[in-house]
């Protein structure tokens, strides 16, 4: 799976993840997709792919937008 990120404020785009397994989104260094924003939690969400479907889980303390 491949994740392209676009920052809509700066218009910058980059490929943030390109791998097989699921990935974590957040500010923390352990996250595969790092989003530098103080409004993003340290570990914000987990994305998995099962049977051809995306499963997106917002982690503890993160409110849906």
């Amino acid at each position: 799976m491949r994740v392209l990120v676009q920052n809509t404020l700066t218009n910058r785009q980059w490929v943030a993840f390109d791998g097989q397994a699921g990935f974590l989104i957040g500010r923390d260094e352990q996250c595969d997709v790092r989003l530098e924003s103080r409004f993003v939690a340290q570990v914000h969400a987990r994305v998995e792919r099962n049977d051809g479907a995306w499963e997106i889980e917002l982690l503890t303390g993160v409110k849906p937008g």
Partner: protein, 138 residues
Amino acid sequence: MIRGSARLRVMEFVLVLDSAEAEQVTQKEIVSDRLTELQNQLHAELLRRLDLRLGAFSTGTNSTERTEKLNGVLDDLLDGEFKTPVFESDLSPLILSRALRARLMDWIFTRLAKDSASLPVGRMLASAPSLKNRSAAR
């Protein structure tokens, strides 16, 4: 659960998720990625040069002067280290087509804005030749 490719918005970030099995990376996508990378490099270099010129944009400077200065920095970059990748590489046709499309969209929106400022909406629609032809055909 979401199937196919997905777009996920997290604050100001938009994440486009592509599954590996659907991801037969085409030549077009590779070129597009290279163009994105080039844009990022140009953007980063532009910011770096603006940082080096702190004070170049004083509060007293009007917007026209600012635009000219910004264009000056961009011209320097495009005439220097970015000359080959922008004007003399295999990416050049794609850059040209995107630039022309952006110019065209600018022109259309400017034109529409002028027209809509001078005409009521109903009259503007009625005066559009393509719409006239369509209504005549009916």
